[in-house]
């Protein structure tokens, strides 16, 4: 099926390769607007305090200061992130975390702005703060936000979980924690805001141009067309740069100063004042029969929202991995006086997925079953009903409807089989409690874990696309996808080129301007390939139809008899009868005396009763030095089902990225909060350790291309999900090596403590 295509499915370099490799691509921090001012932000040193008094007189008097703002300049209301990653005032009288914004300054240059910050006098009244989620949940806990620390719980149930537990022969129960990860994108981004009589313009790197537009419009009570977001390419994001509080600060300063204002965060601010992955605590209970039947799964999952996060659900689809007869899920978002937390690559499929995978690994051990066999036997299959996925939740919530949502395709079995074969599972797995090898103090272990992640969620929104075919056969694709490094502009262009029968180099992609781009869902949740492509393909087909109708008149056939390939329009039955596309489109039409204009457009949603999920199975062989506690990954195999791949090179790189990031939390990444003050004590790349070129062997990345009927050319998504089972894979391998289960990060001292050597 794959070989029919000439552009889709091919390993093209990204279409902006030249700009990237010559340093010509302008990211958010590279652009400037004439006459722009420079902003700096004054931040709270307390995790929780009342701002009693702010004296701006000295700051305002400093030469070169154009505007200073405090909470008094902010509309007395909250702004909302449509994805629940934020709710709160831009600046308030109460500060809720160390680093919370208290005042901001716009000046002729950064140096002057910094000087002004030193001249602002703030009187704080420190308040008690709460940093621990479990403490924050208690009824008498310090209130982080006025409407309470607990968000409304999300509860799903299917079947009768209590009965399922009663019918089980054994029950596995565990509590899991994960380390504190942060997106830590390399690019510090920046934003420039301008407020004129006509409207607000915000230049910034963002994954979610239209969410940003909506949040800003709602907050300032402006019509959407008076808010323009220009989204620049981003040097990585992973869920970080969406609509962030500092955008609003820049806009407020621009409004007050009457000039464009640029705000760029320092690396320390990027680490400590934007966002982090929500910290999870999971309580899992699985009941099974000795015969191997999975009777009941109960999940209680807490997520730390930090100071301004608003999530009530980790954004999970983990209950769609194993076929369990009865199921109960309860999710609770809890606020704390720490940096705001929210979505990061993998979300609940990563954090809750970890807990579920460890629990089921324990079940397979209790059954004495090979963990690969166990997963193969119990995995979700194509067409299975998704009991707790978000599509289901949404239709119940909005329409009080109970229509089953079915899994569109699943290559989970294929991934497990291929991965096991590649790592040599049959030879290396010696059984439960038996490491792969023991060599003095060094023990080798092997582990497996699987995961799923969304690639199509109807409620994320409609997508629009415009395809202009110019009179010389060159093409513009106008879309709203964000350029965050995952090659989505390239793969969307590949879809267009495939449909139109032209070359990839004939396509220019225009994106990143809310004035021009048709509304497009946020470039999040791996939804671009599976969902945005539908609109892109329809727009291209629309354009193609117009072209063939014109050609049909010239060829004196019906349009269905024609095709376009290699820039040629030809008669399918008589291919020697053809015309070059550029000749066809540049010739005047008889009826109009001039050449045609070809514009294909579309606006499309996704069917409500289908859920496309990407699948993956990862395998790790590790070595643990029981004297030093060091964990070394010897071999890592990642097998992914993302349907038919638009561009295998792009997809491979995305899996590499997910593995380095997922194993990053597994091995070394951890953002440290000081227990006393709630301050982040390692907000830099020296002390927050991401993995680099010497830290991992190259992962072996393989794909099982299982055609997905809901996907364009059979494709599903890939980008976000690639982190999801890394920590579980590593932890399962560790268990095989040393017989102890440890939650990542697997720091040497944790390993030694678990081995009772410390």
């Amino acid at each position: 099926m794959k070989n029919e295509h000439s552009v889709f499915g091919k390993r093209f370099p990204q279409i902006d390769s030249f700009e990237k490799v010559t340093g010509r691509l302008n990211y958010g921090s590279d652009i400037s607007i004439p006459g722009m001012l420079h902003a700096k932000v004054l931040r709270s040193v307390y995790a929780h305090a009342e701002v009693v008094k702010i004296d701006l007189r000295k700051a305002e008097a400093l030469p070169g200061i154009a505007a200073v703002i405090t909470y008094e300049d902010c509309p007395a209301k909250d702004w909302f992130c449509p994805a629940f990653n934020w709710q709160g005032p831009v600046m308030g009288k109460i500060v809720r975390y160390v680093g919370d914004e208290v005042a901001a300054v716009a000046a002729i240059d950064e140096k002057t702005a910094e000087e002004a910050l030193d001249l602002i006098e703030v009187e704080y009244k420190p308040m008690q703060a709460v940093f621990d989620m479990l403490e924050a949940m208690k009824p008498d806990a310090v209130l982080v936000r006025p409407d309470g620390n607990r968000r409304h719980p999300s509860i799903f149930q299917s079947g009768d979980p209590e009965r399922g537990f009663k019918e089980s022969d054994f029950i596995i129960e565990l509590e899991t924690h994960l380390g504190q990860q942060q997106h830590a994108p390399l690019d510090r981004n920046a934003c420039i805001a301008n407020w004129t009589k006509e409207r607000v313009t915000l230049w910034t790197g963002t994954q979610s141009m239209f969410w940003c537009q909506r949040s800003v419009a709602d907050y300032f009570d402006l019509p959407l067309n008076k808010v323009r977001i220009v989204s620049t390419p981003l040097g990585g994001s992973f869920g970080f740069w969406w609509q962030n509080n500092y955008h609003f600060i820049a806009i407020l300063l621009a409004r007050k100063a009457g000039k464009p204002v640029r705000l760029e965060l320092t690396r320390e601010e990027v680490f400590s004042t934007v966002k982090r992955r929500e910290l999870p605590i999971s309580f899992i209970k699985v009941g099974a029969k000795n015969s191997g039947e999975l009777k009941s799964l109960s999940v209680k999952h807490l997520l730390d929202n930090g100071a301004y996060g608003n999530k009530f659900d980790p954004y999970q689809t983990v209950v769609d991995m194993y076929r369990v007869e009865n199921m109960y899920c309860e999710f609770l978002g809890v606020s704390t006086n720490l940096l705001t937390a929210g979505c990061m690559r993998g979300v609940g499929d990563f954090s809750l997925g970890y807990a579920v995978e460890i629990a089921f690994d324990m079940v397979s051990e209790k059954l004495g079953e090979d963990p690969v066999e166990f997963r193969l036997r119990n995995r979700f299959r194509t067409g299975d009903v998704l009991p707790a996925s978000q599509e289901y939740m949404f239709q119940k919530f909005f329409f009080n409807r109970d229509i089953p949502v079915k899994l569109t395709s699943s290559g989970l079995g294929e991934c497990l089989t291929k991965g096991a074969e590649t790592i040599g599972w049959k030879d290396k797995w010696k059984g439960w409690g038996k490491p792969v090898a023991i060599d003095g103090a060094k023990r080798r272990g092997i582990g497996v874990a699987m995961a799923t992640h969304i690639s199509g969620l109807a409620f994320f929104g409609f997508n629009g696309a415009v395809v202009k075919v110019n009179s010389d056969g060159s093409v513009h694709l106008i879309t709203g996808v964000a350029r965050i490094g995952q090659g989505v502009d390239t793969t969307q262009a590949q879809v267009v080129a495939e449909v139109l029968g032209v070359e990839l180099e004939d396509i220019i992609v225009i994106s990143g301007d809310s004035d021009i781009s048709p509304p497009t869902m946020a470039t999040v949740g791996s939804t671009s390939m599976h969902m945005v492509s539908r609109a892109t393909k329809t727009a291209a087909e629309n354009a193609k139809r117009q072209i063939l109708e014109i050609a049909a008149k010239k060829f004196e056939v019906v349009p269905e008899e024609l095709e376009i390939k290699n820039r040629k329009v030809f008669n399918k039955r008589k291919p020697e009868s053809f015309m070059m596309l550029k000749d066809l489109l540049s010739q005047p039409l008889q009826e109009h005396l001039c050449p045609p204009t070809i514009i294909g457009s579309s606006s499309e949603g996704f069917p409500y009763d289908k859920g496309g999920k990407m699948m993956m199975a990862h395998f790790a062989e590790i070595e643990v030095d029981t004297e030093t506690g060091k964990v070394t990954v010897l071999k890592y195999v990642a097998v992914h089902d993302s349907g038919m791949l638009a561009n295998p090179a792009v997809c491979e790189n995305q899996v590499f990225g997910g593995v380095f990031m997922g194993l990053g939390l597994g091995l070394s990444e951890n953002l440290h909060f000081d227990n006393e003050t709630g301050m982040i004590i390692n907000p830099n790349f020296v002390d927050y350790k991401v993995l680099k070129a010497l830290d991992l062997p190259d992962p072996v990345v393989l794909f099982e291309e299982v055609y997905d009927d809901s996907g364009v050319f059979g494709a599903k998504g890939i980008g976000e999900g690639t982190t999801c089972c890394c920590c579980a894979t590593l932890a399962n391998a560790l268990y095989n090596a040393i017989g102890v289960r440890i939650d990542p990060p697997l720091h040497p001292e944790k390993v030694l403590k678990a081995l009772k050597k410390l």
Binding site: V21, T22, L25, Y27, L186, E652, F656, V686, D698
Partner: protein, 157 residues
């Protein structure tokens, strides 16, 4: 108090009066307008600001602009000649050695410094040469592949 320095960037001579406390990265980006050099961390921990100073890879965020008096700087903008990419750049394109591209200028220049010394590096030498670079997109396998292949291309020339 501004100080005048003379130096060369990408083959072009400059004579500029600068503040004594600005870094080389700030000089390149703000005074000369070469934005290809990125400042990811401003403390020498990420490698994205790497440029060549007299053919050696240095972190321009950690060098004072004053230190380039009389010296030669090459930034990422100095490698390609119009549409013609340097073999290292060409190799990165063909071997998919980047995703978001933010670390790429620094990586390419560190590769350049390595290959200037050693046109036949072993894989571990390539990894060591880029050890000071963060690629948060995790493209390391293809970055290493790109550099090894670039060495091959350059050996042929």
């Amino acid at each position: 108090m501004k100080k005048v320095i003379r130096f060369t960037v990408n083959g072009n001579p400059y004579e500029l009066g600068i503040s004594p406390n600005i870094t080389l990265a700030e000089l390149l980006r703000n005074e000369i307008g070469l934005k290809g050099t990125k400042v990811g961390c401003d403390m020498g921990a990420c490698g994205s600001c790497t440029v060549l100073l007299d053919n050696k890879a240095v972190k321009s965020c950690s060098i004072l602009a004053l230190q380039v008096e009389g010296r030669t700087v090459v930034t990422i903008e100095g490698l390609n000649k119009g549409d013609r990419l340097h073999p290292i750049q060409q190799s990165f394109v063909e071997n998919h050695g980047f995703q978001c591209g933010f670390c790429t200028p620094g990586m390419v220049l560190s590769a350049h410094a390595l290959l200037h010394e050693n046109l036949n590096p072993e894989e571990h030498q390539v990894r060591e040469a880029i050890e000071g670079h963060i690629c948060r997109c995790g493209t390391y396998p293809n970055i290493v592949k790109s550099i090894l292949h670039a060495a091959k291309l350059m050996r042929r020339e």
